[in-house]
Structure formats: C-alpha cells, structure tokens
Symmetry: C2
C-alpha cells in the first residue's frame, strides 16, 4: 500500500496557524464540499434566494457586492444569517488593488462596510505589501482573512512565475492575515496555504471576454487546488440547484481521488 | 535658438485621435493647469465643497466613490454640475482589476453607475485585454476614456519593465478607448498618450503604508509626465485652496520649463 498522495483537509486544518484557514479547511472536511458559488447576480433578492437554496451545497459564497443595483446594509445582515444557517463563509471578491491607505478605507467604509460582513476578501499583490498592511489594520481585529491573487484565469493576463513567487513571499510576511491564494494550481509546498480556483466549468472552454475555463478534476486533482469557484456553470443552468449538486459531487470526487491511498 | 524640448499640450491635442485625450490636452492648455486633485474625503458634502472651492485650480478631480459613507446618485449629479461650472473632468480611480465580464457590470451597474458620471476611469492591465474590452463595451458609447495603470508609486510593487511594455502594447490595441497611463514617467515615444502621476507632494517622502512621494518638478520635468495627482499634500494643509494654488503654479512652471525653447 502506498502513502497518501496529499494531506486531507482535516490534516491541513491541524497544521494551520491562520484562524480563517483553519476554519475553512475544517468546514471543507466536515461539510464534504469544496464548491464555492460565484453569485454574480445583480439584485439582493436574487442573491439571497440563491444563498438560501444552494447554501447547503457550498463551502463559500463569493460575492461582487458592487454589481448589486439595490444594495442595502439590511441585505448584508440577511446574508450573514443565511451563512450561519447553512454553514458557509462569505467571500467578497473585491480584488483590492490600490495603495494601503486607500484600500483601508475601501474595506471598512463607504456604503458597503465590507469588513463588517465578509469573512474573506482578496487583493492583488501588484501594489506591494502596503495593500496587505492596510487591509490587515481593518481585518485582523475582526478575525477576517485575505486571499492574494497569485494567478488569473483570463486570457493574456500579465502574471508570470516571478510574480507568483513574489506573491508567495509577500503572503509569508503576513501569516496571521493571509490564508491562501486565488490560483490555478498549488504554488507552494507549505501545506497551510489554501487555494481557490476560479473559472471552473464541467466542460473546458472560454467566454467572449477572455475568461478560460478548466474542469473540477483538472483544478483539484491535476493542479492540486482546494476549492473550485463556479459561477456561470451553475447560474446559467436550467436547474441551478441540481447543477450545484453535480459540481459538488465532481469536486468532492476529485478531492477524494487526490487524497486517498493509491 | 534650440528646438522645443517637448511638444506643448496644445500640439499634442492636435495629434490625438482619442476623443478624451484631445479634450483633456486642450483643457490643460487653455486652463493652464496640470493639477489633478485626489479628493479622498469620506462624505459627499466635503467632496462637493472641495470640488467647488478648488475646481477653478484643477484639470481633473479624482474620486474614490467607494469610500464615501453617504453616497447617493444625487451627489453625482451635483458633482457633474460642478465639473461643468469649473471646467474639470471627473476621474473615478476605481482600478478595475477583474475579468471583462465582471468589470463591465462594476462599471455600469451596482449602486454607483460609474459610467454615467465619470469621464475617465482606470484599470490594471494585469488581467489581460479582456478588462479593456469589457469596459469599452460600456464606456465607448458614452465617449468615456480609460487610463491603464502602467506603474505604481507604492513601495515593493511588482511592476517591472516587461509589465510596462506589455501594458503599452495592450493600450495600442484600444486607441479609441485608452487615452493614456497612470505612470511615474513617460513610457512611450508616441506623443498622443497622456500620463498622470500619483504620489506627488512638494517635498519627497513616504507614508506609513508604503506610499512614496515625488515632487511636481521631478514628475513633470524630469520624468515627462503630464498631470500631477495631489491628495494629502493639499487636503492636509491648513489652507487647501492656497496649497492647491502652490501646486498648480509648481506644476505649470515645471511644464513650461520642459516645453519652452531653451
């Protein structure tokens, strides 16, 4: 009998010192789902309906709060209730990309008060470590977590291997706040980093604006990511709940195939 | 007598095919100011007061609409009125940094409807040309313009010369929509690109979150940028209007020193 190919989510939870990574790895393991839903709808009612209906299938609900045409703070309270009810985390896909002093305001203030309801946010490492320091000033006291964008799924993006390595080095400077990466594949041998991969569909392909899709198996098994982010693959299906169950199963199967003895 | 060191704003306006670049170069020349105000306040009233008071001194008002705690669409209507009254352009410093399909929504929809009131927005080239295509679908029919972030002023940022050159190549694919760059210096020999430089103060230095400042003379004369973006240098002064006049004068002197016969 051979050794395990990869550590399980539960084993990795035990290795984490980052609070949010630990929480999320445990959730993956206990709820038996590595499916994140990219809930790109433009009304609060539609988003809440999706969250309530698909909540039992997912580990993370990913939002773009700034495409909602009728956003209110009451909506965020409802969303937080649903996250507790169905046991998922809220990830606002803000892609902070400014200097530290500005992102600090964008994260805490404005209309959205993102830090008050989003468990996880993400940021581009492009502008340097100040972006992380600025966000951490707001997020750490609230026990929030940050994902750094280490790779993108869009055609012709300017990220290369040097950029990825510098992003990992930057994350290593903020182990309390950074829980992992948005990436297409595992990019570090340290087992405590968590990876989420966007641009996942059951069939490979691309959209008309350069988005390129990979399958759950490719993302989780071949590329050793941890969580698949699925948007249009589920939202544009005739029966989104049924489709979410398919993705959940495909994702879980790929995880099991990668972590079982072989 | 020697030849001109640089073409004047008016001469460059005549060389532009991009509508927004033409309009802005003409404005610089006629209003005799290359000062952009970074209006990073957190209330609509404070922003409108600044815009009304400092409007006569500036060519561009740069906003971060998502740090305003009391944003309404009425506010944007008031801001547009002030822009017409004092002849400045509105530049929402959104730093779009997602895939094309997402930025299209973020630009047009949500609470902010940025495309309806911002003459200019900016985007990171990081995610590839899809970000420009997505924004152009919304912005071109409204005759808006886009600046690409080709350099940043924050410490430890990951932009290198290869990234800058790829950003220029990307801009060249969209000459109707891209009017120029956020950069620390001139990065192309084509005279129709317009450059705006952030992180400008009368004294060099840095903040506690990695922002690094250059002087107007360094930005405009030595580095051959076109517009200086000043925020805290003016906003934190005892008399912001007086300080704005100083920056305007310093900026204009640097421009004249660079474009006059010598």
């Amino acid at each position: 009998m051979k050794t395990y190919k990869r550590l399980s989510y539960a084993e990795r939870a035990a290795l984490c010192t980052n609070h949010m990574a630990q929480q999320l790895f445990s959730l993956l393991s206990e709820k038996e789902t590595n499916l994140a839903l990219s809930a790109d709808v433009t009304s609060c009612a539609a988003l809440l309906e999706l969250a309530d209906k698909l909540g039992p299938e997912i580990c993370v609900l990913k939002t773009h709060v700034d495409i909602l045409t009728d956003f209110t703070l009451v909506f965020t309270q409802e969303l937080v209730k649903l996250a507790k009810k169905h046991q998922f985390l809220i990830f606002e896909d803000r892609k902070f990309a400014d200097i530290g002093n500005t992102v600090r305001h964008q994260y805490q203030q404005g209309i959205y008060h993102i830090a008050d309801w989003a468990d996880i946010v993400n940021a581009h490492s492009l502008s340097g470590p100040g972006v992380i320091s600025g966000l951490a000033e707001v997020g750490l006291p609230k026990q929030r977590g940050l994902l750094l964008l280490a790779e993108m799924s869009s055609a012709g993006n300017l990220i290369n291997s040097d950029y990825i390595q510098k992003t990992v080095r930057m994350a290593e400077q903020f182990p309390e706040f950074v829980l992992g990466f948005i990436a297409q594949r595992k990019i570090s041998n340290d087992p405590w980093w968590l990876y989420m991969t966007p641009g996942v569909q059951l069939a490979e392909g691309k959209d008309t604006l350069g988005q390129q899709y990979v399958t759950p198996t490719k993302a989780l098994l071949e590329n050793e990511s941890d969580i698949i982010i699925v948007g249009r693959g589920i939202l544009q299906a005739k029966d989104p709940l049924l489709e979410a169950k398919k993705y959940r199963q495909a994702g879980w199967n790929a995880y099991c195939a990668g972590s079982k003895t072989k």
